[in-house]
């Protein structure tokens, strides 16, 4: 059973890697797949707050927007390379995360959720009204696509050529998004199985007991906020250089809610769940966008379908599709080693 699941996983991965190279590939399908991967990054980032720390964040999209505008503005004004923009956007997102988190993380429960919601609305209002910086509702068009310039390597090797690759079409973005998802997944699983991840889970399970174990609640919540918002900004930076156009209404409250639905659907605190949740909800959204008008319903009724799914999930699987928390911990070599030791002791 476990072996079969493992083979299926590798098969899916191989199919995903090979698909863009197939003659029957479809630009629309590729576009949707890239979109799914952007949301996978967002869902993994958001998962840290409600999933690991038990903090309800309704304003995650604000940081997505901050990342996108950081990338967009740096590109059109300074023509900066994407590879330089990524760390800057992540740092900027994390900076705003700390600026918002430091004064508000002492609030608990619903009060905190309302503050985050207010913050994301603030971001949209700022982007809409500060026309000198953001061009307001017109948005920022004409953002340059990503390019990979390794001329320095050519110079180093003594080749007198310009080694520059500009991303055109969906295929290079598709592979870059895969790399991004893989990196964030690696970071998240490693953090989950570490002193930091355990401190977060302790806060989620019982803040008072966590403090009694020596966890500084406030500091660890601020760290969680910084990491989460940094990942949100990473997705934003990718979005800006992929869609090549950003505007304030791409970062409305609805997006925060959608990402939260993905995390809840997948299972709070489960990293794989965040991935599956994003894939299901985005794919479903696209299917409904086509299917609903054929049934004579406006495409907007798909929001009703999302609501229905959440109600059904709450009724039948209140903890989401994947309920196990700290999953990567169980797969670490140290734990496997310990499991063997305990088994040996039992038989002895």
């Amino acid at each position: 059973m476990r072996g079969a699941a493992q083979s299926l996983k590798y098969l899916l991965l191989a199919a995903a890697l090979a698909y863009p190279l197939m003659p029957f590939r479809d630009v629309y399908v590729l576009h949707v797949l890239v979109l799914i991967m952007v949301y996978m990054v967002l869902a993994m980032g958001l998962n840290i707050l409600p999933g690991f720390c038990g903090l309800l964040d309704l304003g995650f999209v604000g940081f997505y927007g901050i990342g996108a505008y950081t990338a967009g503005l740096l590109t059109i004004h300074y023509n900066m390379s994407f590879w330089l923009i990524v760390p800057l956007a992540v740092l900027n997102g994390a900076l705003f995360g700390v600026l918002l988190g430091a004064p508000t993380l002492r609030l608990v429960g619903d009060y905190f959720a309302i503050v985050t919601f207010g913050f994301s609305e603030l971001v949209v209002l700022f982007l809409t009204n500060e026309i000198w910086l953001t061009r307001g509702p017109l948005g920022i068009p004409g953002i340059a696509p990503i390019s990979l310039d390794v001329t320095w390597l050519a110079t180093l090797l003594g080749v007198d050529e310009r080694w520059r690759y500009a991303f055109r079409g969906e295929v290079p973005y598709y592979y870059l998004a895969m790399v991004m998802v893989a990196l964030v997944f690696l970071v998240m699983t490693r953090v989950e199985d570490s002193r930091l991840g355990r401190a977060w889970l302790a806060i989620r399970e019982d803040p008072m007991a966590a403090a009694s174990c020596g966890v500084n609640l406030f500091a660890y919540k601020v760290i969680a906020f910084a990491v989460s918002t940094g990942i949100g900004a990473l997705a934003g930076a990718f979005l800006a250089r992929w869609t090549l156009f950003i505007s304030p209404d791409m970062f409305k409250f609805w997006e925060s809610f959608l990402v939260l639905c993905m995390v809840v659907l997948g299972g709070l605190g489960n990293i794989r769940g965040a991935l599956v949740g994003s894939a299901i909800l985005i794919a479903l959204g696209e299917v409904l966008r086509v299917a609903l008008p054929k049934l004579g319903l406006p495409a907007e009724t798909r929001f009703l379908a999302y609501g229905l799914i959440m109600v059904v999930i709450m009724r039948f699987r209140p903890h989401g599709l994947f309920t196990q928390v700290a999953e990567s911990t169980m797969q670490s070599s140290l734990i496997k080693d310990l499991r063997a030791r305990i088994a040996a002791r039992r038989t002895a």
């Binding site: 889970l201 008072m208 007991a209 174990c213 609640l217 928390v325 310990l338």
Partner: protein, 262 residues
């Protein structure tokens, strides 16, 4: 007396309610001290003041963890108190129930370890060594309370008595000098209580001072060297179990007015 903890005139007020008023007592290093009294006497409030959950309204709490002068720790945050060497268990069990038994104890090593976000992501050599040391320390404490073989089971799957033992293992994993046990025998059957007595003596054997709140009078009289009795937030007696048992105020607090003469 060599006191590890000295509570000096501590009061705690919640609005109009004086949960503790001007309570003073000392805890002898290396002995078992019992904190007893009827329900609502302020025993758990006292623990919360010492453990840093509450800041006393008034008074000093002096803790002499290591060498050097005792320091006033009243109002320190709980994580600071844990780092100083004060650990506790809770009256209504507070485990991280979605996690494994091992993870519950591993979290308690937080205050004695230092890996940060970057160490965790990059898996540096020191981070990996630290993770191994955390597992070893956690297993040692689990074996100490007899839960070593259940290390990888979910904490929620343990029996009630074992959950109490797990809380003790978690508290011990913070390397405390003083451990506060809040009703450790509550809900235990006689056999589990017997094992608990052995465990408490073993904790003492590790050089950890024990303070316990307990309603099981037979247990308290048997294992405590000294008792402190609270009633309505006021200390009414203090001394050896024999002295306290004979104190008319104590009998009155437990059995009502007139009982002392009956």
């Amino acid at each position: 007396m060599d006191a590890i903890l000295t509570v000096d005139g501590v009061s705690k007020r919640f609005g109009g309610l004086m949960a503790l008023s001007d309570v003073s007592f000392a805890v002898e290093r290396g002995a078992i001290t019992g904190l007893i009294g009827p329900n609502g006497a302020g025993k758990t409030t006292m623990f919360n003041c010492v453990a840093g959950i509450y800041t006393p309204t008034d008074g000093r709490i002096l803790f002499a963890g290591g060498e050097g002068e005792p320091q006033n720790v009243a109002g320190r945050k709980p994580e600071r108190m844990t780092a100083l060497g004060v650990a506790r268990t809770f009256q209504n069990i507070r485990l991280f129930s979605a996690l494994t038994v091992l993870d519950n104890v591993r979290i308690a090593r937080h205050c004695r370890t230092s890996a940060n976000f970057f160490g965790s992501v990059l898996r540096t050599r020191s981070q990996r060594a630290e993770e191994r040391a955390i597992i070893d320390a956690a297993m040692e404490n689990l074996d100490f309370v007899g839960l070593g073989e259940t290390a990888l089971s979910p904490a929620a799957s343990l029996s009630y008595g074992d959950q109490r033992r797990l809380e003790i293992a978690r508290a011990l994993a913070t390397d405390p000098k003083l451990i506060l046990l809040d009703e450790p025998a509550a809900g235990m059957n006689p056999r589990e209580t017997e094992a608990l007595v052995d465990l408490i003596h073993a904790i003492l054997g590790r050089g950890v001072t024990v303070v316990l709140i307990e309603h099981d009078m037979k247990l308290v009289m048997r294992i405590c060297k000294r008792l402190v009795v609270l009633d309505h937030g006021v200390k009414i007696a203090d001394g050896s179990p024999q002295e306290v048992r004979a104190n008319p105020d104590v009998i009155e607090a437990y059995l009502g007015k007139g009982a002392a003469h009956a």
